[in-house]
């Protein structure tokens, strides 16, 4: 690069060429997409379902971001950054999809009109309106627990997204098709760490086994469909989570066994909780940080 060109680029702050080392542009997630809802699909159900998937991604991205500047290696800073960016991208698409079908809950009472739907939903809903699950909400713990949670969350989400590629909602199907590639990498990244930690040193094995013990109970509310999911699954739009349970159990069992970790008993199912808006204090705390600044300046544009 010629020296003068870079200085010129500096002075010309308005053109938006250039690029990130990692990742791409970040503007309007659904720009140019036909968001018409196909016949026979209830928009309220579709929006509610998008919130479930979108909130999981947003909350997990926030958890992973807590590792940035604290990760074990620079390579891991970059990897966690990538995964966080992928999940944020999924969250933005899904929340924008929910907004496009008019599902905004109480968020619009607080957010001004200039705030896009994705941000109204992310920043101006209270915890009881969130549809994320305990698996993504739980605090990170150490690096072993973080990777075990990521392994479980990515495995569940990949199984769901793989099926959603055939959804009758073309927007959801497209989001899923893009997400499958990303989630395959997330699951692989987490699985490699679980192998290294489980079969590494005595300490890492112990920590990984503790991580399993902390994460397994969080699987209890994931595999029973809510009424929304049941209706949408019947309409060919959503995935019935009960249908992915065996696949998830097989994958997790395989990874744990290869990592020389013992596989605990599958937790007894509790029925949906987070999907119905029931959350522990961890989510409220997480949202306080995430939403604080945006709520302090509801008329601001960023």
């Amino acid at each position: 690069m010629h020296e003068e060109t870079v200085y010129e680029a500096l002075s010309n702050a308005h053109d938006d060429e250039g690029h990130w080392a990692f990742g791409t542009g970040f503007d309007e997630p659904l720009a140019g997409v036909d968001t018409t809802v196909p016949d026979g699909i209830d928009p309220a159900d579709l929006g509610a379902y998008c919130l479930m998937l979108g909130d999981d991604a947003l909350v997990l991205a926030q958890r992973l971001t807590q590792w940035i500047t604290n990760a074990p290696e620079l390579e891991e800073e970059v990897a966690i950054g990538n995964i966080g960016l992928d999940l944020l991208g999924q969250a933005r698409l899904l929340l924008a999809r929910a907004g496009s079908v008019g599902v905004l809950g109480r968020s619009r009472d607080l957010a001004t009109d200039s705030i896009p739907d994705e941000d109204a939903l992310a920043y101006f809903r209270d915890a009881d309106e969130f549809r994320s699950t305990a698996l993504v909400e739980a605090p990170n713990g150490d690096f072993a627990r973080t990777m075990l949670r990521l392994l479980a969350a990515a495995t569940v989400r990949l199984a769901v997204f793989a099926r959603l590629r055939d959804s009758r909602d073309p927007v959801l199907a497209a989001i899923a098709a893009k997400g499958v590639k990303e989630l395959t990498y997330h699951r692989d990244h987490a699985a490699r760490w679980v192998l290294r930690l489980g079969d590494g040193t005595e300490e890492s094995h112990r920590r990984a086994q503790d991580g399993v013990a902390a994460v397994w109970p969080l699987l209890a509310d994931l595999f029973t469909a809510t009424d929304v999911e049941t209706r949408l699954a019947a309409a060919g739009v959503a995935v019935d989570p009960a249908g992915v349970r065996d696949e998830v159990r097989d994958v997790l069992t395989q990874v744990l066994q290869r990592a020389t970790l013992s596989v605990p008993e599958w937790p007894a199912e509790t029925g949906p909780r987070g999907r119905l808006g029931e959350h522990g204090p961890e989510l409220t705390e997480l949202l306080d940080t995430l939403q604080g600044l945006a709520r302090q300046h509801p008329a601001a544009t960023w």
Binding site: M1, E3, V6, Y7, A9, L10, S11, A13, D15, D16, G18, H19, W20, A21, F22, G23, F26, D27, L58, Q62, T65, I68, T69, N70, A71, P72, E73, L74, E77, V78, G81, N82, L85, L88, R92, I115, P116, E118, D119, A122, Y123, A144, L195, R196, L197, D199, G200, T201, E203, S204, R207, T289, L290, L293, A294, H297, A299, A300, T301, W302
Partner: protein, 321 residues
């Protein structure tokens, strides 16, 4: 006791030095396998490591806003930027490794305060406008410092700098774009931007280092082709570039002496507080202890992870995890 060596006559150092000087004189690059004077190697390791450390410590001030970024787009942009900085740190540590340094050892030196990083990262980020001002001014100053290094006489460093400068100039424009957006927002937002500019302007000017008459290593580094312009030249270039950008943005710099001098074609500016510079470089800045403590904790609290990865690799040598 000397290790068994290939039977080869000891090369004549004078001849090697002559060849090295000729390479520099022709403006060609020195590559890792080339002979180089020990002083050149040591100075470069210090320079590249200090730059790498700055990228990694530089993740923290903005990283502090990652969890609270006020829109999902801004959160993504900021996460990508902080991630780029980790990437830059990686390229730079690799460049230092081609000179015989070791990344873990350099990290230890950083944490033990035996090597420095840019003093700018010892200031706190008090509002979200700071994220924009760091992009605009701090990254802008960094690019002014770094663009000439794309012509560094040391090949691996020069090549790393080309890539880093491209990405940094994108960060700079992103920062400026955030500030433009905030200036179009509410009165409170405009006040946040001006306040951030007021706090960062002088520390940013200090990023170019002490005035030329107090920069003892400049002459040697310029002779070696690892520094291309003096500190004061670069500082002036930065001021000249920034004033028109501030006008477009609608903010002022906190310097009553800032004024265009039609005779020189440059902006005159006030005196920098070099006592503050010395204090901050010497470890007494507002955030020095916090920045280093976090870097130390990332190393120490996760040492078991690295040990596990090493143990696993030993057990499964040749196997792909």
């Amino acid at each position: 006791m000397s290790a068994p060596t290939l039977e080869r006559p000891a090369p004549d150092e004078a001849a090697l030095l002559e060849q090295f000087d000729a390479t520099l004189a022709a403006d060609h690059r020195i590559e890792p396998r080339d002979w180089m004077p020990e002083g050149y190697r040591k100075t470069l390791i210090r320079q590249v490591a200090q730059h790498a450390h700055s990228e990694i410590i530089g993740m923290q001030p903005e990283g502090d806003w990652l969890l609270a970024a006020p829109s999902l787009r801004r959160k993504s942009v900021l996460l990508a930027k902080v991630q780029d900085e980790a990437g830059h740190g990686m390229y730079l540590y690799s460049a230092a490794e081609t000179l015989g340094a070791d990344r873990a050892d350099l990290t230890d030196k950083l944490v033990e305060q035996k090597q420095k990083y840019s003093s700018i990262f010892n200031y706190p980020t008090l509002s979200y406008a700071d994220v924009g001002v760091i992009g605009w001014l701090v990254d802008g100053a960094a690019i002014c410092n770094q663009v000439p290094l794309c012509r560094s006489s040391y090949g691996p460093y020069a090549r790393a700098m080309i890539r880093i400068c491209k990405e940094e100039s994108f960060h700079q424009r992103q920062g400026y774009e955030l500030l433009m957006t905030m200036m179009r927002g509410t009165d409170e937002q405009r006040a946040m931007v001006q306040d951030a500019v007021d706090r960062w302007w002088w520390p940013t000017l200090m990023m170019f280092g002490p005035p030329d008459e107090h920069s003892p290593n400049t002459a040697q580094s310029m002779a070696w082709g690892i520094k291309r312009h003096t500190n004061d030249e670069l500082r002036q270039k930065f001021v000249d570039m920034s004033v028109p950008q501030a006008e477009v943005l609608g903010v002022t710099f906190p310097d009553p002496e800032l004024e265009f001098d039609p005779e020189t074609g440059h902006y005159r500016f006030g005196k920098l507080d070099w006592e503050e510079f010395k204090r901050v470089v010497g470890g007494q800045g507002p955030m020095n202890a916090i920045r280093l403590a976090r870097r130390r904790a990332a190393r120490d609290d996760n040492a078991w992870v690295t040990e596990a990865a090493t143990a696993y690799a030993r057990k499964h040598e040749g196997a792909v995890a």
